[in-house]
Amino acid sequence: MKKILIVDDEEVLRMLIADTLEDLGFSIEEAEDGEEAWEVIQKNSYDLIILDYMMPGMTGVEVLKKLKESTVKKDIPVLMLTARSQQKDKEELLAVGADYFMEKPFRPMKLQELVEEIFHV
């Protein structure tokens, strides 16, 4: 079973993503901020990380940077959640190593389609 980590400070969004993906048969873990995310990433292995761009404390970009700099974890694909107003930041995220993007707010159906595409379901 593929394992996905959801990192978002908004509980409702974590819940929405978890509900959507769990129904598809993925195993889900959640982290509510960047620090917690980096901690669990180091301990566990994931097949995909869904990472919110804007978070208090360690931001999504900082987590992404650390991840892509890590020799062991750098191959885990990352799906960044960004707001529409953060379009211009996409280039920076791409440069750092983000693999996929999803604009917030999103419909679960779109997320489902993207995740299925990532895993070639």
Binding site: L16, D23, R107
Partner: protein
């Protein structure tokens, strides 16, 4: 005494004849349902989704969830609606002046703030106190309004909704992930000529529910709930499948139906003076369609499923069945002019008369039969042979179609995965005539009496929160 006995024996034989007519009609329904399920049996359930997904973008949908004192179930219900597979939709929870914390739970959980959303006055409703929108999931809205009943809450949702189609659903039900897409399919396939569609309602009691989804289907332990599993199978898999074939369907269940908003507004919205607002609206739409000589249709499809919590005590079930039959009585009364009028085609000539003579009058005749059977045997006023014939017909009628419905379910849909699930349903079917049927018959007759007295309310069903877990 002899004359009385003669009269009573003839009454008993008339009742038996009446039930033979019903058995014949139900048998025809069963054969029609069988044919339909046979045709669709081997269709891959995902095939309609693949077809539909191409064109669904042009059919955005507002999901209206009327809620009254639903503080336990409302958040899990919205949560389950959020992961539905549909491209463009909004969720509008209408708090109909709840006395509990329904609104607070919504506002706290979904980080809601006041919204300045425009409201259209398509249908007159009780006053709206405020509209809130979620900041985290912006397609979730809460409308707070003065108490006006379920129909008024649905009308209010219609006024607030922005999309051309709306889905009316109960606050404590679970729609399967692809159910909206499948229910929308007849509308899309007909290019909008189907104006109302509804799916199947099934009993959630006994099922394992996780994060607002049905994880494992299994029959409930509670005897009242298990009898309702059979009841629902019979009503949906036999009755509605066959009725929809001829565009005769008079009910789209209030728990789950999709409507074209324009037609509902044209019809004047939900009627607030009846407790059977779901059936009344569908009959009124049929009436409007026929009077305006329109070709639009109303359809039921069996595959999309909405799971709902059913009453588990005699007290609550009695209240529900009384309400349903009161609603039926009121609908028939409002639309009595359609009866046997060729202008209304099959609805006026067949389905409405069917509802009057079979569904509405049935419990009265059946109750009379039970009274005659018991009193006749106690006081020796009816012949033993006639009494035995009555009992045999009642048993046959009660059991045969229940078993047939369970068989149709197994054969066509296989939602209950284990063999003992079906054995359990079979065995309970045999007990129906001895306790469940007489009770529901009595309650339905009480519903007729309530309609005459014209009392109605929300029904005060005690919820456990079916979507939680």
């Amino acid at each position: 005494m002899e004359t009385l006995s003669l009269i009573l024996n003839w009454v008993a034989i008339t009742i038996v004849a009446y039930f033979f007519v019903i058995i014949t009609i139900y048998s025809m329904f069963f054969l029609l349902a069988l044919k339909k399920i046979w045709k669709e049996k081997d269709i891959d359930p995902h095939e309609p989704i693949e077809d539909t997904i191409e064109s669904v973008d042009t059919y955005p949908l507002s999901i209206i969830v009327p809620a009254y004192n639903e503080e336990i179930g409302i958040v899990p219900t919205v949560r389950s609606l959020l992961s539905i597979y549909y491209p463009e939709y909004e969720i509008i929870v209408v708090d109909d002046g709840s006395k509990d914390e329904t609104s607070k739970r919504m506002i706290d959980h979904f980080d809601m703030v006041e919204s300045s959303r425009a409201i259209r006055n398509h249908v007159v409703t009780k006053e709206i106190v405020g509209i809130c929108q979620s900041t985290t999931v912006p397609h979730v809205f809460l409308v707070k309004k003065e108490n006006g009943g379920k129909a008024d809450a649905l009308n209010c949702g219609i006024n607030v909704s922005k999309y051309p189609y709306f889905c009316a659903m109960d606050a404590d039900s679970i729609i399967e992930r692809y159910a909206l897409l499948k229910t929308m399919k007849p509308i899309m396939d007909s290019d909008g000529n189907v104006i109302v569609t509804g799916g199947t309602i099934r009993v959630a009691n006994g099922c394992k529910i996780h994060r607002g989804s049905i994880e494992q289907v299994s029959p409930p332990k509670n005897p009242f709930a298990i009898m309702q599993v059979i009841d629902y199978l019979r009503a949906f898999l036999i009755g509605r499948i066959s009725m929809t074939r001829f565009n005769w369907l008079l009910i789209i269940s209030g728990a789950f139906g999709i409507f074209q908003k324009e037609w509902v507004i044209k019809a004047g919205g939900y009627r607030t003076t009846t407790v059977g607002e779901d059936m009344e609206l569908v009959v009124r739409l049929h009436r409007l369609l026929k009077e305006s000589k329109s070709k639009e249709r109303i359809e039921y499809i069996a595959d999309p499923v909405c799971w709902t919590e059913v009453p588990t005590t005699a007290r609550v079930l009695r209240k529900q069945r009384k309400r349903w039959h009161q609603g039926l009585t009121e609908t028939i009364f409002y639309h009595r002019k359609m009866l046997f009028r060729p202008k209304y085609k099959g609805v006026g000539m067949v389905s409405l008369p069917y509802y009057v003579l079979i569904e509405w009058l049935g419990p009265v005749i059946e109750l009379l039969g039970y009274v005659l059977l018991v009193a006749g045997l106690l006081f020796g006023v009816i012949h033993l042979e006639v009494a035995l014939l009555m009992f045999a017909v009642a048993f046959f009628y009660g059991t045969l179609f229940s078993i047939s419905a369970v068989l149709l379910e197994e054969w066509g849909y296989k939602r209950y995965p284990k063999p003992w699930h079906l054995i359990k349903l079979f065995l309970w079917s045999f007990t129906e005539t001895f306790w469940y049927r007489p009770l529901t018959v009595l309650w339905r007759v009480e519903g007729i009496i309530s309609a005459i007295r014209r009392k109605h309310d929300w029904g005060d069903m005690k919820r456990k929160g079916v979507s939680s877990g």
